[in-house]
Symmetry: D3
Subunit: 286 residues, 6 copies
């Protein structure tokens, strides 16, 4: 069950409203690097978590915190939209030189939301829930979570750089700090389960004897004119504690040239694809 | 520049065509865990890679291999659709007892593609390119890649379990093996760059002095009735070599209750939101 | 700020797991009539609410309850997936007669989520956040909310009819009851603001003198062969307390035939669209 | 059957073309508040209307009018794009000071449509038909229609405010007027069917005895630190003529803590989720 | 302006309702090969048509006919859903042997539309308006229209083959006939404008002297192990009356290896990408 | 199998980076007229090609070239983003007069990709794979390909016109040239198969005796106030060598008015739709 208390987790102040920055902030709400994504991802992972109950608890607890982050960001967007133009007169007064009367803000912040946040990204594209990764495999999910927090923190630092508003900088420095924690929190779950070595290859429950192990540890070069770049990926022990990385400088081509043959009658193809040209009579008589 | 050779990377044989399995295989083509995703993700990451040129080369080389995986899967789908019904007579002959004449296959494999693969997932939902994660931050991108390969291998093992066709099992065991490598290959890039400790927090180029570090290393409990689960995430050194994990059993609520005040005239809100009720005259006279 | 407690708002029991019913239940999670939609809609409306603070509080309070509904439904889906087949052997054992080995369940409940809920509808289409209606106009938003609860209750009763599982029926009867309340709760907000008469036309803050009032109260017939159906919509006082409904049996056509003239050079149109045919020389010489 | 006549329903004149306003107008074509939405929504509702034939006729008649509104808006967009730059020289001539050569217009109005309307919103996001609400329940559908017209009129008044072009203002004042009517027209259908009291709860055909009526009429507070706001929603008779609103200041938590137990072998989870750690041998031997 | 008359363009009769066929028919409504697509595509092309007014008139006239096709298909879907199960009892009575109680029908035809048509395809994916091709170039648009009618007729013949219902076959034979006409109608527009030779290359208004004509007429082989297949595409005069097709057996590689260099400070990349490793001090001090 | 070589197919040089032009170029990558579309479309058509193996080879060969076009465009975008602002200071320094600090560029080129290309169009909308047309009918597919190349070349000429950068103009003149070839290459396949006459109507394998041929060759006027425009489309022989075009000045209306009757109990409709009004008792008693 969820509950709410009325104050925000951290102060959200805007010294000088900036409708263009409101548009940028939307990426942290409705972008794939944003807070709806992590809130919902942790929520769905929690609802499907099997095994160690601690992880489920950690997921739902953090999902709840992320909901509070959406709440702060939604407010931050609205505060930055204070003073945004809602009429031609206001808009054109701002920039007499330019014909871009809205000055880079998202026009739907006027037209559709009436100066409020929307669940869209900085291009106005709505968030879509296919980005909620919850695979039922806890190690894969933890990696998806680290990734989400990594791209989330990259985004937050870019937003931090794109404003000079002191209130916004403080608020973003809080979000950046929480992302610092959350990146490592999900890595800690993997360590708690025995570390990467025990977890790899994901899923570790599939018997590796059934995979084609002769293809499991070489780094493949598909370049025609450059050798494989040298690095850890083509030498040394694999991280799963089983294999040894090697380099294969060009693919073994083991398959045949595919050939689907003719199309079947009734399949909607052209007659030519069925192995014959079209006799003129076919077209007008049965 | 790309080039093509006519044979498949690995043999793709189907002993007994199964249109329902063709539908399942689509997840490995057009699902978020699938091959279009990794091919395009590595391709876009390569095109934006700045810094160490080896990583760029590795990305484009692997992108190219993933294109070959799409090619094999596309063929595997078509082969499984051999014999799928294209007429009511064929369809109803198969299952006289049931009214589900298509027997669980994707109807668009008949209606839209004429017994061929489509860039859709197992629900027929087309792949959308918002899933191509290429952030410009190499560590974040590597984690996204490990995640993609982890969910990809989870998917491939599930597909392996859902067929008894020997040809398909061999083919999938090859894909599983390559996913084993690719998961670790991208982790190897991180190790090559100094390991997780040097990379975290991502981005490591943002001066941590500007983040609100007092919030950077506690694991937050938002539960009202359970303590934070004990584990590596709330104790011990953080993985970035800087902080120390601690547990905070309940949020400090530092912000205020948000209040946006009244709506502005001309913003399309109701009059009541502007601080007044609507005088009857307003509605019919200016 | 949000908080969580560990127990579900209402008991969720499944007597006999049914993977096909799990697929149906997804509509109540990720469908446009579902709980993600209302939770997020009320949340975004609350974050943008200007004016009467009571409405904002009611919105966030109900958003929080809807999050708890997602939580129950996610659990209900997972429980119905207990026992769903994860291998060909299990799957084909169930229905020896049929070739539809998955028997109508969503294949991605095996392939992508590992027997857990996903934020998708009953067709596997992910929820997309463009369905979050939060216009900044409180009356429009309340109507959107009544609509969401109306379609939500219609859906819940259809799900109730499609199961015979006693646990699921009890759970759905709870959701149906809450929808009964929520439909009327949002209507109560409109009544509290003075009722429909005071609220209409929405937005009531736009001076009606600026609208073309001669077109504001007739019901228009565009049929060529039937008169306008008789009913309240073409007679009697309008509900906004201003106009009187009338019937207009055929449209006054007041405009002209549109004509955009020729295309401009450099606009990428065909030469013919620019008022000339293409001289042969144009194509090969500048 | 549909028919067309060559003149527009209302004059569409543009005194001074404004490519940025063309972009804004797109919201009224391809936005969720726009005319494609209502045209298609009424059309699909009509095609599925069961029961009183008058409502079906009213729906198709109004759908037809809305098609004519798309037609006018499409023309309005094209007229506002007259004179938009199609070359770098034209574009940069306009705003020598600024580097935003397109001045806030939608670049795809040059690149993709050649100075014509597109079925997209003001952010360039294409309309998607999941927004066509047609539930088969006439009361739910009428509420969806009132909502669409309410948000539609809010949008139209915002557009009206964002232009000073006299031709555009007249045209928009016509659309605003029709929205005034259409909002109330769909409410009139509900009144014609006996009013809200007879219609609620929607669907009114589900026997309320089967819903958990003890949960049907309380307004639930989920806030930890504020009481439920006082208002019509927590007292007085419900609008369905059955219940009486009450306030419940905190949720009864009736369910248990969910627990899905261990993952099943073969389900693609990690071994740890299946109740055991991975023995090193499992990974390399069957 | 649009108008409506009450009868359907062609009789729509269903002898034996078939809910699974209703699902298949949806592809002709909301699929990319379907009628919403052509109706809207011709409508938007008409609204943007510049130049010869006859083409604009032909477009709007045919758009109107396509609206009537949607109308018939919507009815056909609803008639096929007569008798579809709306309760578990009805559903399970049908197929006592199978657990797929809905027997291959779209579950949302029960849950979301109440036995009516929806604007979705045969997988339940909603139509999205990005498929409306209206480029502002009349020749490109005509080709898009021929394509739409070609895939439309392919679809209609596949549907024809998938039913044995006499009413549905007659109805589909009508749609197939109209597609026969419409394919050729749009080709006739190209012939009327001077034929393909005059139209190519599209757009024919761009001076070919500005294109890199040495690359304009060779067919390029990118295969490493097969020669270019012989055919009309690599020999003989080009269809634009300008060039002559030739074969180029392998690409001239004219460009350099791309190299973006280092990432910029402040861009959110890793320090390593900026040309340095991360000094430990950077992370905790500014 | 695919392979890669390290140099670009054609030189990509940018004389003066222009972040706004980077945004425009995105249309050629991720727009429906762009290179991802053609690369993937030819790839999927190749994987499903049945019949003449030459066409399959031509498809995969050209798909491979299109991948190289994506590669060049991705680089072109990144080069145009060199120097784009990544901080408020840089951004506001550029345009002291304006408040649009990003000057028309795509903000996600800073926030999400770190100054690199993304698989999105010029509005930032991600490419979605539903645009990959691969019908299994070779003639329909060739027309789809000609269309794609026609809109692709229209787009490329518009981009050419929107820049004055000499490097970009040279690069675009190369793409324009290749589009000139590719348009005609796919037409050459149709000619090779016997020309349009042999191919039409598509699919030519459906016996025309089963279509309602009395409706196959008339051009239908649906206008109430204008005659059908005169042109090749309403007179002369049809292009399939079978019919003769005629004009039908108004539709024969052959169908009946549709009537779905009452809704069924249990279907979630209102009681009124089921043929009765709601007795007050129904609502509270079973």
């Amino acid at each position: 069950m969820f509950h709410h208390s009325s104050k925000l987790q951290f102060p959200v102040r805007v010294e000088k409203p900036d409708p263009e920055f409101a548009m940028l902030l939307q990426q942290a709400i409705g972008g794939v690097e944003g807070e709806i994504r992590v809130a919902m991802q942790y929520f769905f992972q929690a609802m499907g978590a099997r095994g160690d109950a601690r992880i489920k608890d950690l997921l739902i607890s953090t999902a709840t915190e992320e909901l509070a982050h959406i709440e702060m960001l939604g407010h931050a967007v609205a505060l930055n939209l204070e003073g945004a133009p809602v009429s031609y007169q206001e808009a054109s007064a701002k920039d007499p030189v330019v014909n871009a009367i809205l000055g880079g803000m998202n026009p739907r912040h006027v037209l559709s939301s009436g100066l409020s946040a929307m669940p869209v990204n900085a291009n106005g594209v709505p968030f879509d829930m296919s980005h909620i990764y919850a695979s039922g495999n806890i190690a894969a999910d933890m990696l998806a979570n680290v990734t989400a927090e990594a791209t989330g923190r990259v985004l937050a630092t870019r937003l931090y750089n794109m404003t000079e508003d002191k209130g916004m900088k403080e608020f973003l420095s809080f979000l950046i700090a929480r992302d610092t924690m959350h990146q490592q929190q999900w890595l800690a779950v993997i360590e708690d389960m025995g570390g990467l070595s025990a977890s790899l290859p994901i899923p570790n429950s599939f018997p590796q004897s059934e995979e084609a192990q002769e293809h499991s540890y070489y780094c493949l070069n598909t370049s025609l004119d450059k050798p494989l770049p040298q690095g850890r990926w083509c030498q040394g022990p694999a991280f799963d504690g089983v294999g040894e990385f090697t380099a294969k400088e060009q693919p073994d081509i083991l398959g045949e040239e595919p050939n689907l043959g003719y199309a079947r009658p009734g399949s909607g193809a052209q007659s030519e694809q069925m192995g014959g040209s079209v006799p003129p009579t076919l077209k007008s008589e049965p």
